[in-house]
């Protein structure tokens, strides 16, 4: 009925699942999977992998990836820091050549060095323990010339393009296509 559409590639399917394809490309890819069984299977495989990645991320303790500069390390405070992390704000520091004096911690609350990387990482993520001390933490970090991103983030919420399609009628009229 219509011109044949190209088969899916893994890369393109990834882009689709990431939401990175423009709407026309999405529509084309979707339409293709309705008529091509191997591509439908590829889409399912990639979607399943996506779900597995969500599961892995959810099962990865955040503490294990929050790396704090060793100079901010206070060993006595492991348990307290684990609690404190719950309300943490993230900032990103470039460790290259900063000179943090060991006598001053940027925060009042204890900070845990959860993981010490073997070699200096490109970026180090540090956590300000809670809202009460966060401002002081951010100020101290900036005062040291460290690159700080505001933890609140300023990202735009992407435009919603599905709302116009949201109808509450005739949604269950077809049998499953399993």
């Amino acid at each position: 009925m219509t011109a044949p559409t190209p088969h899916l590639t893994r890369d393109r399917t990834e882009q689709y699942l990431l939401g990175a394809l423009p709407p026309e490309a999405c529509a084309e890819l979707e339409a293709h999977t309705l008529t091509c069984e191997p591509c439908a299977r590829l889409l399912q495989e990639e979607a399943l992998l996506e779900e597995q990645l969500y599961e892995i991320a959810a099962a990865t303790p955040r503490d294990a990836v929050v790396v704090r500069p060793a100079r901010w390390h206070r060993p006595a405070a492991v348990a307290a820091a684990l609690v404190a992390v719950a309300a943490s704000a993230l900032l990103l520091l470039r460790p290259g050549g900063e000179a943090v004096s060991p006598s001053v911690t940027p925060v009042e609350a204890p900070v845990l060095a959860a993981r010490e990387p073997e070699e200096a990482p490109r970026d180090i993520v540090v956590a300000c323990p809670d809202l009460a001390t966060q401002e002081h933490c951010l100020r101290s970090a900036s005062a040291r010339g460290l690159l700080v991103y505001h933890p609140g983030g300023q990202g735009e919420v992407p435009r919603y393009d599905a709302s116009s399609g949201l109808t509450q009628v005739a949604l269950s009229s077809r049998p499953a296509a399993l």
């Binding site: 990645l53 991320a57 300023q154």
Partner: protein, 203 residues
């Protein structure tokens, strides 16, 4: 009639949701349609992908996703929603509809009739719809090893984007000071590494 309570993430550090997620949820619970629309936009993709992963055709996956939102809104309008925790609630509702869909298809194939299932009208308790484990312990261990090999920056991007709060890529990008495009590149790179880790020889 049960009321909806979504599962508490106990014993785990708080995951970063988008800064306006809580406010949007509150407004949606009070019936504000614009807030619903914003939340739907944010979590739509995740719900569709969860259905695709079950092998549901993409057109049906989209229909079921719409029905998922329609039902959640309906439940809110009937005062059945006491808490709105997304995307978990939408994923549970979608899984419920998908299972129901499959049941229905089986019945049709058996006796050719479509039974009306009153349970479809009932809200879903996500705590009850036991989450299917997709990753074995061994796979998880290998995935963690693979994540250890990734730079802390990339790992952080992955965890921000995939830890289940539906943080938009634009928001991830803003938090780590990268472009959305770069964030997606990183996600693809991490994905490839984790794919390899998951696919390693099965016992």
């Amino acid at each position: 009639m049960t009321t909806l309570q979504s599962r508490q993430d106990t014993g785990r550090a708080a995951r970063p949701a988008a800064p306006d997620e809580e406010a949007l949820s509150r407004r949606a619970l009070s019936g504000e349609r614009a807030a619903w629309d914003a939340l739907i936009a944010r979590h739509q993709r995740r719900v569709v992908v969860s259905l695709l992963a079950r092998g549901i055709r993409v057109d049906r996956a989209q229909e079921l996703t719409q029905e998922t939102w329609a039902r959640l809104i309906q439940q809110q309008q009937r005062g059945l929603l006491t808490e709105l925790r997304l995307p978990a609630l939408a994923l549970a509702q979608a899984a419920f509809l998908a299972a129901d869909d499959a049941r229905r298809a089986r019945r049709e194939s058996v006796d050719g009739t479509v039974e009306d299932l009153p349970e479809r009208q009932q809200p879903v308790d996500p705590a009850q719809s036991a989450e299917k484990r997709l990753v074995s312990e061994e796979q998880l261990a290998r995935a963690r090893d693979a994540l250890e090999q990734v730079s802390p920056g990339a790992r952080n991007v992955f965890l921000l984007a995939c830890d289940g709060q539906g943080l938009p890529h634009a928001e991830v990008a803003s938090r780590v000071g990268l472009s959305v495009q770069r964030v997606r590149q990183i996600l693809c790179e991490v994905r490839k590494k984790l794919r390899t880790a998951l696919e390693e020889e099965q016992p």
